[in-house]
Symmetry: C2
Subunit: 570 residues, 2 copies
């Protein structure tokens, strides 16, 4: 049997955990981005037992006579694994593990969903959720603790309202928070009560929400969140990510996965602040660990907030609220100290900057830093959402990388127009202009803020239209990028943005065999078809890690068990 | 050349970092502890390319015809690597890196030593030291900042007095601490002044010492301390240790060494408290990492203080201070909560207990815990120094391990007699009695409190005499152990005490090839000769890691460089 069925590749996964051997993936419509940013096609791929590509073959090239495993691609499209250059890995996992009530249309439906979730997770000490909206339920009032008690009474339940400004607790959660008739209203908050001055009814508003102390996740919860996030990402064809803001707890979870062979996704980690950076990396970036699957690259810092909440720092006032220009989270001097602290030890610096003032100030800081910290620094500007056209050319120097999220443009378009007014739109989500200065583009999703869907991002990048095809012709269509540019920003340049080039991002000799088999060709599909791309298989390091024909079982829950109850209050 | 010279083994080290191959160490007078606690002899050792022992040979056994490396032991004594079951790894390293003034006999000599040390370490932002004693210098007064400035003025200097109750600062350190003429005396402290009410003279006493904020070590300092500690331990023949009280920073340093191939010593880590335990280990003990060189086994807790400072918790008052029975650091209920928290997630529990009351209470806690936490728990009692004879039999149950330090007995003997009086000595440092109950003995040094010298410990264990041969016949000589018991407690049982059995601790098929070549036979040498044992070579995992004929270069200092000075106070 020269070419076993595609499905037979599953056998490789089992074998690979010991010592994988040479694998030939043949009869594919393969592509990669070449050194010039052009698409290069091939039809076969030979992978060594270290997960690296030994050779690519064109039609007619002689194949090796004998390999350990042969996979018939049946003419499928094969593309490099997508790299999401801006995610929050643990946020994706925790988000997926939390009860989502946002689509419930009645209190009864919500109660049924809560009950089912509690039954499905008997080991969870708390039931946590979000997304309810009593308006959609046509309830005319807030729901109550008593109503929640009818479905879960033995464990605390805490469910945040869709807007995050109220929380609904059951009686157990109120008791643990010691919220009683005697509890006073905190400043800026409200305790809903059964009667005026009476016992709490169940919903706590704004600062009163802080009365409920939700416990920090246990390590086993973190590991489950990581496993869940990996499944979700690999399923969508994402084989590597930049994790923007890793805590030491996140990092320890990444390492536990690496130590036990459970790390399937590549993670380029950016520590949350310099304290985490020093604790995780020590005197400098970590080595590439676990076959290039994990590295602490540097630090994630913040210049400002976001546009929607008017926290982005603008040069001129908000169009829809002339009294404010937004907020800087980090001032210039503090920023330079933090950047200097990182750059001194060769940590890479990635800074969140949304507003045009924040971007301009960050560019100035980078220009300052570059005088002292020479060499290949790859200063990353995360989001770079609103840039004064006068500042665009500044992106082209000092190896600055524009780490941008195409779907933000389509999600934010209407809001951005309101916040910025017409005069400032030319520098908004200006992918092509920034790329045109010489700055490399690294595309991502900002998941869980958006879905980690590279195909939606790809379609947005080449159309500047939403899933509804609006607006006609694309929004600020001069900023569309080509399919080749989009693919580069999701593969080779997203790897480069994390110092991963030469290791992964291209399907060429010597790089890791991270690739996807797709049901369509992203270079040819219509934008609507592109959004519907189905990932048939995902391979990382020459191993099959997701197979649509064999969807993975949900990750095992941590073992059910009762924690010991402390004897006293210590 | 069938058997190259012993020295040729150095070549193996270079080769081993890529892929070591089969190594035959032959013509040795080899020994190990066997399954029955008896010494088993052999004359050759075949080591596989994974560092594990393939086979041992007796005289006359057929050797393999061909191996990649052959080492002629020239008839030397070969013993298993010593395992120190209780050390503070980073403390050993930092201790060795700190300026030691304890042997200076004049201010001028001290100044010369300080100047030389500062010259030798141009990159250290602070000069830290200890051990000075103005009485020995016959100075008749404290030394001054001005005197220190004459040797180091450009960097802060902070030198603690021999008793730890005073610190000597230079002007730079005083300025950084903002200690001026206007600074008031803190409660319980004194600022030595040039004139009454005048500017500080240089020495700060007791609580005034806290005014000087010595910076936390940088990650590169930690890595240097670890490298230094490894050198010191391997040189003395210690190939594995239990690190008693690892912080997350310590652990990260261990991992950096492991990640970069610089971990030569085996470290069984016990986290400092449960917060570090959860942060390091997560949901349970870590896997064995780096060819069994690192594992987070569990947690280190404290029952009480030490005998010398009368902090050990005794059942009856101190003989030399009848008003006190010492101090408990952790009360019974808190202790059980902490032990339970650890045992619930299968972390091993190691608890410091010195006084007889502390030991009795800990035994009670273990007896309680053992009702809930079944299975192979290996509860460790660290030190077990003073045990009420009525409690000795309690050590024989629930797999309790007595982790004891033979040299403490000889160092403490006179002090212990004063603290305890004659009636309580029968249960003091009662190695043989505890072992006789069935409790396994794990021997160690408590370095840097004592020197990490297993040969001094071995000699003390079999004689209960100090290096001076005192007292005649040994102190409480009924508690001497045999040479076989001492070797077991320093090898097989010290490994067992950290769940390392089957991995290291014996020189038998399947275990890691950790061994020493010695200049004498510890089973035959007189006690005085035993103390003078010279380690010729130390091998870990089948690799030569120390060779007396080629002492290692001191570890490289972190690169000299100027840290960026923050622009503002952030």
């Amino acid at each position: 049997m020269k070419y076993p069925l595609l499905a037979a590749a599953a056998a490789i996964v089992a074998a690979a955990s010991s010592a994988a051997a040479d694998t030939l993936v043949d009869n594919v419509d393969g592509m990669t981005i070449d050194a010039k940013g052009q698409v290069e096609r091939f039809t076969g791929l030979l992978i060594g037992n270290d997960g690296r590509i030994v050779q690519t073959f064109r039609r007619g090239d002689k194949r090796p006579g004998k390999v350990d495993y042969a996979v018939d691609g049946k003419g499928r499209v094969l593309v490099p694994g997508m790299i999401d250059a801006h995610v929050h890995v643990m946020g994706i996992g925790f988000g997926a593990l939390t009860l989502d009530l946002s689509e419930t249309t009645s209190l009864e439906e919500a109660k049924a969903k809560i009950a089912a979730y509690a039954r499905a997770h008997p080991d969870r000490p708390w039931i946590l959720g979000r997304g309810w909206n009593q308006e959609l339920w046509k309830l005319g009032r807030f729901p109550t603790a008593a109503e929640l008690d009818t479905v879960v009474a033995d464990r605390p339940v805490w469910l945040e309202r869709v807007d995050g400004h109220a929380g609904w607790a059951n009686t157990r959660a109120l008791a643990m928070a010691n919220v009683t008739a005697a509890t006073k209203e905190p400043a800026g908050g409200k305790i809903e009560r059964v009667a005026p001055g009476g016992r709490p009814a169940g919903v706590l508003v704004d600062t009163a929400m802080d009365l409920v102390k939700v416990p920090a996740p246990r390590p086993e919860d973190r590991d489950l969140a990581l496993a869940t996030a990996q499944d979700l990402l690999l399923k969508r064809g994402i084989t590597a990510v930049a994790d923007m803001g890793s805590s030491i707890e996140d990092w320890q979870s990444f390492r536990r996965a690496g130590d036990t062979g459970a790390l399937r996704l590549r993670i380029m980690s950016y520590a949350s602040g310099v304290d985490n950076m020093v604790l995780i990396g020590g005197p400098g970036p970590s080595p590439w660990l676990y076959d290039d699957k994990l590295r602490l690259n540097g630090v994630k810092l913040y210049m400002d907030g976001a546009l929607g909440s008017r926290g982005a720092s603008l040069k001129a006032p908000y169009a829809d609220m002339p009294g404010t220009r937004g907020l800087r989270i980090t001032q210039d001097t503090a920023l330079k100290n933090l950047m200097s602290r990182a750059a001194f030890d060769n940590f890479q610096v990635a800074v969140h900057a949304i507003g045009d003032e924040a971007n301009a100030a960050l560019l100035s800081a980078i220009e300052d830093m570059a005088q002292t910290y020479k060499g290949d620094r790859r200063w990353r500007i995360e989001h770079a959402q609103v840039v004064d056209p006068a500042d665009i050319a500044r992106f082209g120097k000092y190896g600055i990388i524009a780490s941008m999220q195409p779907v933000h443009e389509t999600s934010d378009r209407v809001m951005a127009e309101a916040r910025l007014g017409p005069a400032r739109l030319a520098g908004a989500y200006a992918w092509k202009s920034l790329n045109g200065t010489g700055a490399k583009l690294a595309f991502g999703s900002d998941a869980p803020v958006e879905l980690p869907d590279p195909w939606a991002g790809f379609a947005a990048a080449i159309t500047r239209q939403g899933p509804d095809g609006q607006p006609f012709g694309g929004w600020q269509p001069q900023e569309k990028v080509t399919r080749e540019q989009a693919l580069t920003a999701y593969t080779a340049d997203a790897a480069y943005a994390g110092f991963g080039e030469g290791r992964f991002g291209r399907l060429i000799r010597g790089e890791r065999a991270d690739f996807l088999l797709l049901d369509r060709d992203p270079m040819l599909a219509t934008p609507a078809d592109l959004r519907a791309t189905k990932v048939l298989q995902t391979w990382v390091n020459g191993q099959l890690v997701y197979d649509a024909a064999r969807p993975p079982a949900p990750p095992a829950e941590p073992p059910k068990r009762e924690r010991p109850v402390p004897v006293d209050g210590r």
